[in-house]
Symmetry: C2
Subunit: 347 residues, 2 copies
């Protein structure tokens, strides 16, 4: 169940009241979201002992086996049994690690997600993917497990920094490309003002619906769900490489530029299609106007190719891409020559 709306406190209170029995509630948050979490607990006026709030490191730093161990031990020592409920209050990384722990603690307890970043609202909170990292390999460990409930509200957007907002906006752009039509038109225009919560609510709602529709049709990612990888094959490689060269770019920036480069790859596949060329020009201009430029990649194409080849979506050593040929016209499992990728990255 995905709830969207403005009054999250009332929605959460109602849902908690409807839980059967006196099943104990465990709140997981990050250092960043601890105060949001506490104010939420206050708002819903439920009596949660302080031992039932646990704080893990911010962002990707939380996504380790050692954080999982500390979460497991916290729940075990606080007496969490199979009827326990874990509520993740935070961004995508927090929901990722919390979802993984819930899916594996006592072979699975219920969990709810309360995403507090735009990225988590439109992406990580929907779809039932969770995961932690293995060294620098992102989301190498995880499961598919749907949260029992998700509460999404633009309420938290005002707490985000500008880069955090842009990070989520890259996924919104991606969803606009997949949806096409009026949604693509919307993402090509400026973002609503943060104070315009109704506009944001509408935007968040179509993003969630789009993602939920795709995920429902293909829960374990054998087909349509791969469309959601748009921009991410090159994006993940850019992100990993930027950390290697100590010029780190954000996930959003990496995905936004990934969308641009992958449309260039689409041109290689379908060189005579004017729409693909136009999509590439439009995206390039849009991304340039919103996001930081990425560091010069020309000398490091081989390193990027290594990351792209290690992508876990590949099979039998083929390079498989999801590509957009026009707004609303995206395809997956497209087998691409390494040479074509190198050319797209190079030019």
């Amino acid at each position: 169940m995905i709830w969207t709306g403005l009054d999250i406190a009332t929605a959460l209170s109602d849902a908690l009241e409807k839980r059967p029995g006196s099943s104990p509630v465990y709140f997981l948050c990050s250092a960043n979201t601890h105060s949001l979490c506490l104010s939420l607990i206050e708002m819903v006026e439920i009596n949660v002992p302080s031992s039932h709030v646990f704080v893990v490191p911010d962002g990707e730093n939380a996504k380790t086996l050692s954080t999982c161990e500390s979460i497991y031990l916290w729940m075990q020592s606080a007496g969490a049994l199979r009827n326990a409920l874990l509520i993740n209050v935070g961004g995508g990384a927090l929901c990722d690690v919390g979802g993984f722990c819930a899916a594996t603690y006592l072979r699975g307890i219920a969990f709810w997600n309360i995403p507090t970043t735009l990225l988590a609202m439109v992406d990580a909170s929907v779809g039932g993917k969770n995961g932690i990292n293995l060294l620098h390999h992102k989301n190498y460990i995880g499961t598919f497990q749907q949260p029992e409930k998700v509460f999404v509200s633009p309420h938290w957007l005002s707490t985000l920094s500008h880069p955090e907002l842009l990070s989520g906006w890259a996924e919104v752009i991606k969803h606009g490309i997949i949806a096409g039509g009026k949604h693509f038109q919307q993402v090509m225009k400026p973002r609503p003002a943060i104070s315009d919560q109704q506009a944001w609510l509408g935007l968040i709602e179509w993003n969630i619906k789009l993602k939920a529709r795709i995920v429902e049709s293909d829960f374990i990612e054998k087909g349509d769900r791969k469309l959601l990888n748009l921009g991410h094959t090159v994006g993940h490689a850019l992100e990993s490489w930027s950390h290697d060269v100590k010029l780190p770019i954000s996930h959003g920036c990496a995905v936004a530029w990934g969308l641009v480069y992958e449309t260039k790859i689409a041109i290689k596949v379908s060189p005579n299609r004017a729409e693909t060329q136009r999509l590439y020009e439009d995206l390039k201009m849009l991304v340039k106007s919103i996001y930081d430029p990425i560091p010069r990649i020309e000398g490091d194409i081989a390193v990027l190719m290594n990351y792209i080849q290690a992508d876990k979506k590949n099979e039998h050593h083929a390079l498989l891409f999801s590509l957009a040929f026009a707004p609303g016209d995206c395809h997956y499992n497209i087998n691409i020559d390494a040479e074509a990728v190198v050319q797209a990255l190079n030019g």
Copy 2:
């Protein structure tokens, strides 16, 4: 798919040949089963580079997050992608940790189990439960995930020590109690000779069928599957406590005596039923004749009760037991007063 038979090498060869594409195969084994694993690889005459065999510690020592990390890193560095196949060759603990790693590596790859102990053949290899321990809390972390295939053959029984055989035999006794009728009669009689592979094959087959039937009807353990916990609530407590007091008893011995004590609890619930009394007397005699006695528990009832109360099957602090009232007449979710348990343990 659960294959049972005598010629495991041919069955495994055939199944591997039928795998689509050239999906790489990763063999996981323990120090104990390493040579069995190598001889199996030789028998099936497949070309598996040595880097694709990984050895983890024997028994419960393997069931830690740190072993999981080493398994994940081995697979990652050996290039395992989503089409990889993990084959677990070993006892219950090895299949547990291997199944958990397969279920969580890249959000789930296929795995096959080749159980080499009687316990793993009749119990751990069927049912899709996997798990690792959290400190001394058994199977606190895990998932429900069915192996794609299981290959069960009495072929390996001759490699087991007497205590290992008895460990599995406790589950056979439990299954006999649940099934009732001729199967109960069989488990009350002496075990077949190890050389009589046909007799063992028949015995293993009805055990697997019984467990598979119960598991299929209730994969996530909300109902009938709880019957399989027979003997285990007291059994797990006895096992944990015996380690605390440095007089460790085997899992099988603990479960066997757990079956006896839990039948005593059943008598408290249904004091006037002659069959329950008879079952208790029969089981006590049988277990006494096969298994070592357990250390004196009289002074440590409170410690045992703590373990029983921490059992992860309990809900809302009620003590929930699965109990046998007669062969073939078992029930689950029976709410028992702590006092009745204390009395059963005491006298």
